[in-house]
Amino acid sequence: MASPRHGAAGMSAPVTRSELEDFLYLEAALLDNWQLDEWLALFVDGARYFIPPAGADDDADPATLLFYVADDYHRLCERVKRLKKRTAHAEFPRSRCRRMVSNVRYLAGDAARFSVTSNFVTWRSKLGVTDTFFGHHVYELTQVAGQLRILSKKTFLDQDDIREQGKVSIIP
């Protein structure tokens, strides 16, 4: 089971919950609006992006397990590039999406690198079909010039399978 770690007792987060929430809400809004370049700019160079299979542990490794998505930074940039093209047929015309983010919790780390989790529900609607994705995200965050930035993002889907949702052609 994917069970997010809990913040160690008494450990003080380098940022406040509302700063974290602002950041994650901004991320969701950029994705909802298909502002993918701006979304990508939230990641540091070298960042990674993952969607492990259902039931994966938080520390699941794409070198030994078949994920849905395991992007290095280059592939993440190319994912964004692709999603902006007409030839990303799965997302042309684009899905309309709405993301709900909640239960934001600081987990562990220090100002240079700390982990944060949130729950999410994402709806995607296209050609008369609406799909729901839900689960939790685990981020490794850092701060660059006083701004929060993403070192890695793992999206754990809670669906046993994605029979209904089919493709993960959006960023849930």
Binding site: I51, P53, G55, P62, A63, T64, L65, L66, F67, Y68, V69, A70, D72, H74, R75, E78, R79, K81, R82, K85, T87, A88, H89, A90, E91, L127, V129, D160, D161, I162, R163, E164, Q165, G166, K167, V168, S169
Partner: protein, 421 residues
């Protein structure tokens, strides 16, 4: 000659015309015939040896609408049972996979060993001798389970061709994939379980459709070109083959890297050396010609009706089943040589996700195309034909021709139109 409006196939060699009625994708009655004539009467891929490697390992899987329990007994033998309790019918095993000594149905707590025998039930003294005889209350075995080199197939009928006879001309191509391992092949970490709104036969076609590769996947090719050295100068060129019994394959050269055994510059020197060593061992084991074929040609192989082996930038197994004329569920697995180094394994999985699966740079576009085809069939109210004539008049059908699909469709047609016995 023109096909009658009720015909499902228009196969006219003289005119070089091969068409499939769109009704084949939309008519619930056809699906009912497929269930009977095809899914109840063909060998269906169930799973791989490595997925239940140790005694006590088990997994549950849906095959042709049946919940199946696939388990390895203490004696090391793999067995397939219908996952339904002989008492009242509840699902006996509710987990996706695991290891244990027995299965206990939670409803009234009947327990079965790994061989399927009823070994315990509360209040057994309340039952008469008659209910203990002849294994009346053992788990019911799937009528036939056979394997070829670790690939387990099941059959819902007790009689008929054995697995090897059924696989026939496909065996050669299965061997080309499995021989890549020096030890054995194994399934790597789980199932991609997805689905989409299109008839299952559209995925049969798509899985070895060389014609759509460039237009549908232009964004994938854009991506691989974005990283210098991700491709080598090799054209996509090759042939389509009808392997009999509805099985068919396309075999071709292609520019992407393959863990066995075509390195690309972007993988770096260490990987290049490793791939060269793999290739050298292939040559030692099989001779230059066969090694070359294994290493540098790709294969998209369809085992009739619904088992696809794609031996491309990674090796995939894929099955899919209709839930409705316009809805299917897909299972996809990654296959790899067990002895593969961690570095090569990582590359293989990275390669897999580049193209394949619901989050890849190509598969989602396939799903979209197929769903749009399905949607298009609604526009003609069941009339109209799909054209599958490409390369019909050629003696050497190419990878981007459609001979492989015609092989599938002829077998499909034979089965669904045959009078039931």
């Amino acid at each position: 000659m023109t096909a009658s409006p009720s015909a499902l196939l228009d196969d006219d060699r003289a005119r070089g015309v091969f068409r499939v009625a769109r009704r084949a994708f939309t008519d619930p009655e056809i699906l009912a015939r497929e269930r009977l004539a095809i899914f109840e009467n063909c060998w269906l891929y169930l799973g791989h040896d490595s997925e239940i490697a140790k005694p006590g390992d088990y997994l549950t899987r849906k095959v042709a609408g049946r919940d199946i329990l696939f388990a390895r007994g203490k004696d090391g033998t793999a067995r397939a049972f219908f996952n339904t309790c002989p008492h009242r019918g509840a699902l006996v095993c509710r987990e996706g996979a695991g290891n244990g000594a027995m299965f206990r149905c939670f409803y009234h707590s009947w327990a079965f060993d790994l061989e399927g025998r009823l070994v315990n039930r509360p209040g057994d003294e309340g039952y008469g001798e008659g209910t203990r005889k002849g294994g009346m209350h053992d788990l019911v075995r799937v009528p036939r389970l056979e394997q070829y080199r670790g690939l387990y197939f099941m059959h819902l009928q007790a009689a008929g061709d054995d697995l090897k006879t059924y696989l026939g001309g496909a065996l050669e191509y299965i061997d080309l994939v499995l021989d890549q391992a020096e030890t054995a092949m194994e399934i790597v970490g789980g199932t991609q379980a997805y689905g989409f709104d299109a008839n299952w036969k559209l995925l049969c076609e798509n899985s070895f459709d060389g014609y759509h590769g460039l237009p549908t996947h232009v964004s994938y090719f854009d991506y691989v070109k974005s990283k210098p050295g991700s491709l080598v100068e090799v054209a996509i060129k090759g042939r389509a083959f009808d392997l009999g019994n509805g099985h068919a394959v396309v075999q071709y050269t292609a520019p992407w890297g393959r863990p066995v055994a075509q390195s690309v510059p972007a993988w770096g020197d260490a990987a290049a050396r490793e791939v060269a060593a793999i290739k050298a061992r292939l040559v030692a084991r099989f001779g230059a010609e066969r090694a070359e074929r294994m290493a540098t040609t790709n294969r998209n192989l369809l085992i009739f009706p619904n088992f696809v082996i794609n031996d491309i930038m990674a090796v995939t197994f894929r099955t899919f089943y209709p839930e409705a004329p316009d809805k299917q569920v897909v299972n996809a697995w990654a296959l790899a040589p067990r002895e593969e180094s961690p570095a090569m394994r990582e590359l293989r999985l990275f390669n897999f996700l580049e193209f394949l699966g619901p989050g890849g740079f190509a598969t989602p576009d396939d799903c979209e195309a197929l769903a749009l085809c399905q949607r298009g069939y609604g526009s003609l109210g069941g009339a109209g034909w799909n054209d599958i004539s490409k390369g019909y008049l050629s003696d050497e059908p190419q990878v981007d021709d459609e001979a492989q699909m015609r092989a599938f469709w002829r077998e499909w047609h034979r089965r669904v139109t045959e009078q039931p016995a």
